[in-house]
Symmetry: C2
Amino acid sequence: MSDKKRASDFVDEERLWARQMYLATFGETSKGGVNRQALSAEEIEARKLLMDWSAEIGLTAFIDDIGNLFFRRDGTDPALAPVMTGSHIDSQPTGGKFDGSYGVVAAFEAIQAIIDAGLELKRPVEVAVWLNEEGSRFAPGMMGSEAYAGVRSLDDMLPVTDREGVSVKDALPAALAATPDATHREFGCPVFAFLEAHIEQGPVLEAEEKVVGVVTGIQGVRRMRVRVTGEEAHAGTTPTAERKDAIQAASKIVTELYEQINEDPQTKFTIGMMNITPNVPSVISSEVLFSIDIRHENSEYLEKMAVRTEAICAEFGDVCKVEAWRIAESDSVYFDDRMTAAVEEACVALKTPYRRMFSAAGHDARQLSYICPTAMIFVPCEKGISHNEAENATPGDLRDGAKVLADVLTKLGNDTDTNTKEV
Amino acid sequence: MSDKKRASDFVDEERLWARQMYLATFGETSKGGVNRQALSAEEIEARKLLMDWSAEIGLTAFIDDIGNLFFRRDGTDPALAPVMTGSHIDSQPTGGKFDGSYGVVAAFEAIQAIIDAGLELKRPVEVAVWLNEEGSRFAPGMMGSEAYAGVRSLDDMLPVTDREGVSVKDALPAALAATPDATHREFGCPVFAFLEAHIEQGPVLEAEEKVVGVVTGIQGVRRMRVRVTGEEAHAGTTPTAERKDAIQAASKIVTELYEQINEDPQTKFTIGMMNITPNVPSVISSEVLFSIDIRHENSEYLEKMAVRTEAICAEFGDVCKVEAWRIAESDSVYFDDRMTAAVEEACVALKTPYRRMFSAAGHDARQLSYICPTAMIFVPCEKGISHNEAENATPGDLRDGAKVLADVLTKLGNDTDTNTKEV
């Protein structure tokens, strides 16, 4: 890093916070949160805002076939692959102002700081905005980063439908059409390195009074669906012995799963979605479709729990039919040592209190780590609350995260070492 | 009954079946069932069909403020209150062709048979079509008959909303406007007697090869709602010990309730609806709102089970908040002896195999029984299946039920005895 000028000195807390708050008005909820689900009208409007920011700073916009946006500041050597930073702007239906958005706002802030510092970097630096990280409207999420990294094909994603039966294929054209000034880009274009800034979504940094989490990896996850099929019948007339009550059977399975799979306190086991058919008070339910989300840092143990989950579901197929299947699975990933070291060094240089930590939540950085050296920068969020409209963070913490980001980007932007797993 | 001509001889199986099948096209589903929920576009179109039938037969149409329809054939003595027969045309979202509809079609057929037989009755005879019996869109149901009988006030019903937030007040004007030729009628106009024909919705008649069930009463019911309030949080990051998972808590309660409240095999215990917030896979649920429907012929035992249900819910309020409340409750009702005797006599005269039976399902006849002598006529349905698109019945059974109905209406239409609980 140059001794003369540091990009971090040009990170502007007020400008960052103003952008963060303005972005939060797109899909804002009455409880102070955000409902800006992937490819919704609100998310599409927010894309136009990013185009405006890009134009203000003088970046060049690109878009790929799944709607990932990229905003590029050119480097001095056109032969070099870009350093990329960013996150996502889609939210949970009752999400907060910072999840994902912070990584995008911090990326713009860091690049603007590099420009304001007058630093010319050899490599291009890009803001990446990945489509549908959350997966609450179109499940499973991570579509943008998975498509880009070649983890899942576009053809697998396009038929996915939301609750109203609208498919990704139906919803995508409006998003693609919203940014006519963005140049088309292919999936998998080479990336030198990827850095994602994000709120921690957990209580550790706040409790330990650290400002930055140097993220060393992401815990593995198994995502499953279970369908319990019973038989629709009249609630008032059908004798108990003749019933095939899907809610009754599903509740037993759910209760048993929570008891058995939660054994190890490190396990995160969640059933967050239950869709019931026909879901009316006076009809015995004919179907319950529910989600399972299991996470654990130890990939071997995680797989054991997934297998046990399947076995428990199978045990309950006496009265109703029970089918369980996996929709997404990933083992724990560990980020590139040189990347985490670079983040750590920036924290030291900036005297920012930090700690190394493992990410319990999934992030687009997982997918990028398959194709290039990757790391993440966590900042604290209030009480660790996330996926909740009450999600909060302080302007100062967000600023300090962006400072670290700006300096690491500067370093990587001048790194001409190609001895990496760059594709 | 006149020895010369019996209305039952003029009941036309083909005409009745044709009407039944035509009505079933309003809201027909791909699986052969009907989705014609109260005040839906399909239900409103079906109202116009009934207006057509009424005009064809020469009846006069009336409508009240909740959208109940009445089709009247005048009697010879304008001073006498009408004999009323009918049921409802709204269905469950995945309902069948006969539930409710049969009682309306049979009512039209019986009156037309009386007219075709050339029988002039002293009393008016009316087809009644009660609004929102099912209560699956706007809960609880029985709105039309409850409003008419003064059991519940219109003001209590108008604010009730469906899942999309549309209230009865919002949806009603379109239904009222659909039948401009119907004259306005006040709630609670005197009724001399009420008869409702309906499919059994249970397996007894078919199993015993009876064609008519002489219904002696309706079992009591307790309808409740339970709200389990947890705390929305990230599925991947929130430690198990800190979670307030509403689905986890609700599943425990549901499992416990099914075990404890189902003790007596005569009890019908159903949880048919569970609405989850936010209902997405990667967020710990903050709320589950579920329905409870308990029915038992013994009103005292039924109340005991309702109290026990409330106690069980209260026991589970450790991690999440649990609130249980009643939305509708009724004890078993027993129909007027002279009415059930009249139905029985008609069966004997027509040599129709019958049995006396208690109704496990709720019906509009319950509310009418509070204001006038009431009875019901059940006909068999295939395997007892109802509240299901596979609901089925035979043309011959439907005809035989309508024959009994026509002859009992004839008898009551000439009954000038006012020593009843007529209002």
